[in-house]
Symmetry: C2
């Protein structure tokens, strides 16, 4: 976008949409309330139905309303967001040392969905691929080195919609001594990635999460069953072993309307002899 020049009066669709947004934010329209019908808006603002439609479409893109297709559009309820905490990393590491009976089929990703594990469709596929430049530089390996790639997907069979999705990469050098890792029958990885790395003698010392967000493609929108105007959180997790070497990259997507990422940072304590006022 270029710097502003002469201000232009906002187009009609924007004015209508903003007016509706204000009504929503003030509480005149509460979550679940229907919006005025298109023809009603068109009449009130003495504009065409097409323009009124665009106003509605705008609010949809911004994620404030939902519905349509026969139904009146309604104010979107602020959805409950499932929290994904960074404590999970420590928990997964602890889990890797527990006996296999207890690890069992305890997949970390599934347990906080509130859906019984046996009602979900897992799928995970492995293959080996050459890394591109961006992956190679993060994993600190040669360009076009081979990595084990694992694509993981979790689908709710009742709705057909995706609940979780991630791709992870581990340098093949690190895992080839344990062929079990390459066997798709062992899904979901019992105990998770941390345990898998343990079987080849790797202890993860720290985890870096890189977070950004983009809009989903239309294909993603259908796979996840997303409303319009819902961004995707894109998270790259880099696991680093205790010697400081990156050992795994995992790219995961989360719909932003139902996900909150929570990160806790512990700070070092101040020495006791500090000046109480700088």
């Amino acid at each position: 976008m270029e710097p502003r020049a002469t201000p232009v009066p906002p187009p009609m669709q924007v004015r209508i949409a903003d007016d509706l947004r204000i009504k929503i934010e003030r509480g005149d329209l509460e979550a679940g309330d229907p919006l005025p019908a298109v023809h009603e808006l068109a009449r009130r603002w003495s504009t065409s139905e097409g323009t009124a439609r665009s106003a509605i479409a705008l609010l949809k893109q911004q994620g404030l309303i939902t519905g349509g297709r026969g139904r009146a559009p309604v104010v979107r309820a602020r959805p409950v967001r499932v929290v994904r905490s960074s404590d999970r990393h420590q928990a997964e590491k602890d889990l890797a040392l527990t006996p296999p009976e207890r690890r069992g089929r305890t997949g970390a990703a599934e347990t906080d969905m509130g859906i019984p594990l046996d009602r979900l469709d897992f799928s995970a596929t492995y293959d080996t691929v050459s890394v591109d430049e961006s992956l190679a530089s993060v994993l600190n390996i040669d360009n076009e080195s081979e990595v084990l790639r694992r694509v993981y997907e979790l689908v709710n069979p009742e709705t057909g919609y995706r609940l979780a999705w991630s791709v992870s990469y581990i340098p093949l050098d690190l895992v080839h001594e344990n062929p079990e890792l390459l066997d798709s029958k062992n899904e979901p990885w019992p105990g998770g990635t941390m345990h898998q790395l343990l079987t080849v003698g790797i202890e993860v010392g720290s985890v870096v999460d890189e977070v950004s967000a983009t809009m989903p493609t239309t294909a993603e929108q259908h796979l996840w069953g997303l409303d319009d105007g819902v961004p995707m959180l894109r998270v790259r997790r880099i696991s680093i072993d205790i010697s400081g070497r990156p050992v795994e990259i995992s790219d995961a997507d989360y719909p932003a309307d139902r996900t909150e990422l929570r990160f806790t940072t512990q700070l070092r304590k101040w020495p006791k002899s500090r000046s109480a006022n700088g």
Copy 2:
């Protein structure tokens, strides 16, 4: 969104947009390349110009293309993202104990923008407000208690666009013994929030970052100078003192096309006597 019923053939605009996206993802169209003109798309797909326009608009909403208004729309270059790391929390805490000369006007938010500090427009306003229910429950104080609110904004004077924005809340009980905190002339807070809290005898022990994302409103889009299809990262930072009490909440927004949030989690080491295979 409801579960899928009978599949509906995707509308024409979506088909056109998807075709273009595939061309972009395959590399047939590179960043900066212009897209076919609307009338050209309409001709190729034997559809109306309006429909072709919608296809272009769709790709814009998804953040893949930019431009327009006289210019041909071009494939959006993946923008360089400025990293905001959780290491910043420790750094700010360390800074609070350094002598005031060195703290000076070192604002944490500004230093990584690559723009000289004296070329930027700060603004910070204080007031005291009653907390709503959501803030009260996080700060663990009574509903309608008073808090010190600080709204911070940073604007690039050359473009007029916003570069940073946040609101933070501190319970008034905690700060009333240091009236300096209420003086707007002391901006930007020398040494940051950590130092301000130090002056009233509070040491921050941990910081929790809650991250989600939503689409910007049209007003935000103009304030920040955002392209279409760019989500906003919404971050709530909760500072917790060494006794476990929440002492500050800060809500900050970051445009997702130019921001990457990075969080590092240190894990406890395994004991030496561990079984190498579970």
